[in-house]
């Protein structure tokens, strides 16, 4: 486990290796990362969907264009709902906050926990990048 104190002064303990993290939580993390990669939840993600949509349409790949448009719709929806998949994946790595164990990993509970922490997307990226190094099976 690794301990980090964030800007708001709260102390977070993270699962930092594959020997500490339960598989069901890891599976949930993978689910959020898949949604982050395939849907996204911000304007750059929506722009990426536009680019991909144009690419598929110009190559006459209609089925792919339809899927891309569907994913873009999901991205708009998640952005309007202020859901951030990468932050949810980050939330799965949190073992405890100020000594209080995190047990409820529902999307609502994780979102509530994250908004209470006041962390930025840069903090999320930094921690996820750090943890990624220790989550390789090879």
């Amino acid at each position: 486990m690794i301990t980090k104190t964030i800007k708001s002064g709260e102390t977070l303990i993270f699962y930092s290796s594959i020997k500490e993290m339960p598989i069901k939580l890891y599976n949930l993390t993978q689910r959020y990362l898949l949604q982050d990669m395939g849907i996204g939840s911000d304007m750059p993600a929506i722009d990426d969907h536009f680019k991909a949509l144009d690419g598929f349409l110009s190559a006459n790949k209609i089925q792919e264009a339809i899927s891309e448009r569907e994913n873009q719709r999901f991205a708009f929806y998640t952005m309007l709902q202020e859901v951030n998949y990468k932050s949810l994946a980050f939330g799965c790595h949190v073992f405890s906050i100020n000594g209080r164990l995190i047990e409820d990993r529902s999307e609502e509970s994780l979102s509530e926990m994250l908004s209470g922490l006041g962390i930025t997307i840069e903090d999320v990226d930094e921690v996820l990048l750090d943890l990624k190094k220790n989550f390789n099976m090879n």
Binding site: I18, I23, Y26, S67
Partner: protein, 98 residues
């Protein structure tokens, strides 16, 4: 040919086409473009699609848990990541040797 080499080939063909306007490069550009489009196929998140990637992820996980439990592992979902995949690898190796 890996992704980077393909990208180099694509950019080279685009530059050559701009410089020469030779239509021979267009076929190369389209071939490379199709490769990139193929490798960036969108994932499906449509709840009504039987190929939904989230459902597939869950099903694969549940299948692995069921296979481990059939082989005597208790509460596979509660295992640690390392322990889980090590057991999966062990049973796969064992099944291969039988």
């Amino acid at each position: 040919m890996n992704y980077l080499e393909k990208l180099k080939k694509y950019l080279k063909a685009q530059i050559n086409f701009e410089l020469t306007q030779d239509p021979a490069y267009i076929a190369e550009i389209i071939k490379c473009r199709d490769y990139f489009l193929e490798s960036s196929k969108p994932k499906s998140f449509n709840p009504f699609d039987k190929n939904n990637d989230l459902i597939r992820l869950e099903q694969e996980f549940e299948s692995m848990c069921a296979a481990l439990e059939e082989n005597g592992v208790k509460d596979a979902r509660e295992m640690m990541v390392y322990e889980f995949y090590s057991r999966v690898a062990y049973f796969e190796k064992k099944a291969k040797n039988q």
